[in-house]
Symmetry: C2
Subunit: 419 residues, 2 copies
Amino acid sequence: MIELHPTQPSKERITDDIQQLAAFVDSSKPGWTRRPFTSWYEQGREWLKQQMQNLGMDVRYDAASNLIGTLPGSDNSLKPILIGSHTDTVTGGGRFDGIIGVVAGLELVRVLQKVGIQLRHPLEVVDFTAEEPSEFGISTIGSRGMVNNLSEEMLLRQDPNGLVLKEAIHRAGGQPERLSQFARKSGDVALYLELHIEQGPVLEQSDKKLGVVTGIVGIHRYRVTVEGISNHAGTTPMTMRWDALTGASELILELESIARATYSEPVVGTIGKLYVEPNASNVIPGRVVFELEIRSLNVEILEQMVVVYREKANRIAEERGVHISFDSLSKSEPIRVDTEVQQVIHEACSVTASTIRLPSGAGHDGNQLSRIAPIGMIFVPSRDGRSHCPEEWTDYEDVTLGVHALIQSVLVFDQKLNS
Amino acid sequence: MIELHPTQPSKERITDDIQQLAAFVDSSKPGWTRRPFTSWYEQGREWLKQQMQNLGMDVRYDAASNLIGTLPGSDNSLKPILIGSHTDTVTGGGRFDGIIGVVAGLELVRVLQKVGIQLRHPLEVVDFTAEEPSEFGISTIGSRGMVNNLSEEMLLRQDPNGLVLKEAIHRAGGQPERLSQFARKSGDVALYLELHIEQGPVLEQSDKKLGVVTGIVGIHRYRVTVEGISNHAGTTPMTMRWDALTGASELILELESIARATYSEPVVGTIGKLYVEPNASNVIPGRVVFELEIRSLNVEILEQMVVVYREKANRIAEERGVHISFDSLSKSEPIRVDTEVQQVIHEACSVTASTIRLPSGAGHDGNQLSRIAPIGMIFVPSRDGRSHCPEEWTDYEDVTLGVHALIQSVLVFDQKLNS
């Protein structure tokens, strides 16, 4: 049984922080839009830096341009505990995704100072650079950079305006040429903890306030091309058609069926992007290209789904006389949160509010940090499961519960971890 | 039994005409591209006008800018017989669609002169302006204009460069302000006959050389919108999704199934154009919009198909919790070729080559001419059923058979028709 600390975060301060950050947005875009490497992003970080400095933290940009506020520990031979998330948003995004994880770090420091606790471990509150998919075609840029997982090829990519990523990181305060020199290595970080919105409907639907993240799903993406024969929609009898779109439709329904089946761990499968050629109302589609993705914590399930799906695709191709090909686009490995870490977080959450365990269906900076350190995550509910849109919403009460659970967790880990 | 005339068309002359016209194309575009109202189109028509004049025809542009060569008949109290088609192409089209119907008119005149026959009826060989879908969003512009079926709204439409249709017709030699004054009315034309490529695979697959067209199908077009809920592809469990694309896929397969069923007359149903929103690989589609069309000679079958389809759509909407709506985009009436006209053409075809009867699945200038006169059409095979593409091909032997059957038909009709 863990000991409870009288460390209540303030809903008012948290609300105020979130609302202040929500003011630094590109008002020409819908919702709340603070894209990385823009002036609005810089203004938000300048505000954040000021808050950290007001709390007496040592503030710096690391080589990857992550903004880091450090609070010394009582035993500086110990490796730091990192609390973080990001302040960039998608275009037309909301006020909570990423933001609450950074605000949680500020509130943690305020609470520690208020009750007069000094942690044993150094504490770093991190605003990771550019977590969302960026104009460079890469996401989690800052956390990748921190763990030396930004390749030279990535660093040389250009955004649509011709800005090179390396230069963007430099302008944002980083030292991209010294990434490997300053990279965190395995054992350099005691623990990484992050509070985040769920971005899905599970907490809300199960009427729970807090989620202990069991892992971050792996994602396998494929491009599927269905080739039939484009022909005149009026003069070609139904029996003499090789329609790529009707073939693709069968494939779309097959993926849904396979993803709806029961497995030992949850899976999802989605076809979100699809193009028809030539896409004219009076021409039988000759070619359909779509991108499918499947996600699960269990790689074997993912591999098995693809085997079954490709068998179905072969049958459809044979029956319809169309050609179906698969190109693997990407495979990200799932991350499993260590069960002992889960257990501590679960206890801290359970004493705070109603709690369940669930996997994260979305990627996070934790994917990168897990390369070098144990990680843990806490989710709070997303109204209607929405995120990445202006309707994204989490009640401030719920954010505060999440911050509370995070603070409890930090206090326990600070005692438990001896490196 | 009809009397056979020793009126053999020349494959060499027909080949030469087709190849000469094939030279007047926009070489910056794929295949053979001669869009209406362009310089290539004007050059082609200038060549055609020259051919008509060389044959001693009286050549003029009518109010709708159709190019017409006239040969007087022996009884000029009779209404003219019209032979025609068009010389414009789709972008990236072929050398035969439309062209062979105009070339057939030239060859008919040459054969008549060679064997010394003067028809009783005046003969008009017509190159109809802009039969293919144009930049003004209208097809069969010239034949519409000839029968006073171009509304003022249509005449004021602009192409993407801002050119107004009225002005385009004017520049092409027409008098758009006098369309109604010069319009052909019911009874003004004795008969309209057209030779055309099939644009489908039926003749080739049934190993026949000539097709007697029984009618031109009616086309009903709908825009269908499927509305689900757009959401995160990773964080939304399969049981909490309202995916517009899986719903649309069921609808696509249902249309195929309904169109494949057996009816008293052939039908086809096609979904050729489809858009997914937001069309991102990691977002569950929130909205899919597609255009469907169904075609048949029988309006009752079309209406019944839509009733059945909408019932299926309602069931899908209910089962999936998505919203499905239908907007009627257009309904063109089917045209039936008079059975006596079919019979004369069938006899003329049968003595020439192997013949079947079949409907036209594509629209033609005959749709417009049928408003004021009896019409008839002869089809020749399209290799692999292809048209509107560079691969469009009909053997010159087959074109010549078609011209022969057309000539025989004209000679019989000229005797038969007493108006």
